[in-house]
């Protein structure tokens, strides 16, 4: 596979995953780009699925190593949107901001490893792939995922109730 097809295939889902993981769109793009640079620099080859796992694992580790959750730009922007103009109606914008806030609150309520597991699962990875990327036993993934899903759903429900 050439540079373009690898990039086109992996960059968008990787950014999405990193964005969900960090809550910061810019950091997400940085980390996705850094992961891809490393993939090409180290000439990582293999199946498509193998490359995908490698990229997500690398990105997860970069987030763990480098990213401090408290400097969360999206959250700042959500709280202080300094240019609140645009084609959308204020109601839709508000609903969207609310949905984002709920999702963020639910993710923030999870332990970092549970968050990684949940987000990798919802990025379409199998339990085996998740185990390989997150350094947990494959047999534990189900248990950890169940806990993460329960907690996530609880926080979203709770937040929805408060909003009404």
């Amino acid at each position: 596979m050439d540079f373009d097809s690898i990039f086109d295939q992996h960059y968008p889902p990787l950014v999405r995953y990193c964005h969900r993981l960090t809550g910061d769109g810019d950091v997400a793009e940085d980390i996705a780009q850094e992961s891809l640079v490393r993939l090409f620099d180290r000439e990582v080859t293999g199946t498509e699925a193998g490359m995908r796992s490698w990229l997500f694992k690398t990105a997860t580790h970069l987030v763990r190593d480098r990213y401090r959750v408290e400097t969360n730009r999206d959250r700042l922007l959500m709280e202080n949107p300094f240019r609140p103009s645009g084609p959308e109606s204020p109601v839709i914008r508000l609903e969207r901001a609310e949905a984002r806030a709920h999702a963020r609150a639910a993710l923030d309520a999870l332990a970092p490893r549970d968050r990684e597991i949940l987000l990798m699962r919802y990025a379409g990875f199998s339990y085996k792939e998740i185990a390989g990327a997150i350094d947990v036993a494959a047999t534990s993934v189900g248990t950890l995922l169940a806990r993460a899903e329960r907690r996530f759903a609880e926080v979203v429900t709770e937040a929805g109730r408060k909003a009404i």
């Binding site: 968008p12 640079v37 300094f82 169940a146």
Partner: protein, 253 residues
């Protein structure tokens, strides 16, 4: 009868390994079948909630940036001013809601990029071809930004046209790049290790990499801060300062 635990249920839902007995139990147990259905609904709802966090992506500039960086990494040198010889540094554009232009052929470029002009010119041609339209359906939440990588050390940020009262927030990051974001309509000019900004009205955000050897920030001809990240000298009108950031408010002087 012992019902299935949730982890087993999820393993079945997600097509992971589950024992034959578990599958058999599920076939004959209405309680577990209903619980499994519940976990499916929960999964749909979680997927939908998570999608609220996603935003549209314009990967053209990112692709050019990654292409430019591949194979360019050299070991960091500790020499203080080695950053002036950014032999194979690359620049990349991140969010581009404003206009971004490089400085082809300027003296600055030839100082910063003494021995890789060809390589970098090709890259910048691609960068300039990248669309500069707002990349998000929510323009209110997206400002314009530019980022330059610095495989080795020096980064300079120059801001022009900041009205009195404009806030300039400087933060530190562990990433190996410097970044400036500003409101839509701002104009960026950049080369390796240097970002120039003609600012539109609104808050300006500067992120310097902690790993830089030397950083500097100049606003309308006045030095706001300079030095190494560990011993930075703040000379601008700072209104707030802590370990991770400095906030300036541009004054009349």
């Amino acid at each position: 009868m012992k019902h299935l635990d949730e982890a087993t249920m999820l393993a079945i839902r997600d097509g992971a390994d589950a024992s034959a007995e578990a599958r058999e139990h599920l076939g004959g147990c209405a309680t577990c079948a209903a619980a499994l259905e519940g976990t499916r609904r929960r999964a749909e709802s979680i997927a939908e909630t998570l999608s609220a966090l996603d935003r549209p992506l314009e990967p053209t500039a990112a692709k050019a940036g990654v292409r430019a960086r591949v194979g360019t990494r050299s070991p960091r040198t500790s020499s203080r001013w080695s950053g002036w010889h950014l032999g194979r540094a690359a620049a990349l554009v991140l969010l581009t809601a404003g206009a971004a232009t490089a400085l082809p052929g300027s003296p600055l470029r030839s100082i910063l990029l003494p021995d890789s002009a060809e390589e970098t010119t090709a890259t910048e041609a691609e960068l300039l071809d990248a669309p500069v339209t707002p990349s998000s359906a929510e323009p209110g939440l997206v400002d314009a930004g530019i980022q330059v990588g610095l495989p080795e050390g020096v980064v300079e940020v120059v801001v022009r046209g900041a009205d009195p009262g404009t806030e300039v927030l400087v933060e530190w990051s562990d990433l190996a790049a410097a970044r400036v974001t500003a409101p839509p309509g701002s104009r960026f000019t950049y080369s390796a290790g240097r970002i120039e900004l003609d600012a539109a009205r609104g808050e300006i955000r500067v992120v310097f990499p902690r790993g830089a050897d030397q950083i500097s920030l100049e606003v309308d001809g006045r030095s706001y801060m300079s030095g190494s990240p560990s011993e930075v000298e703040v000379t601008g009108p700072a209104v707030e300062r802590d370990d991770g950031s400095v906030r300036f408010r541009v004054d009349d002087s």
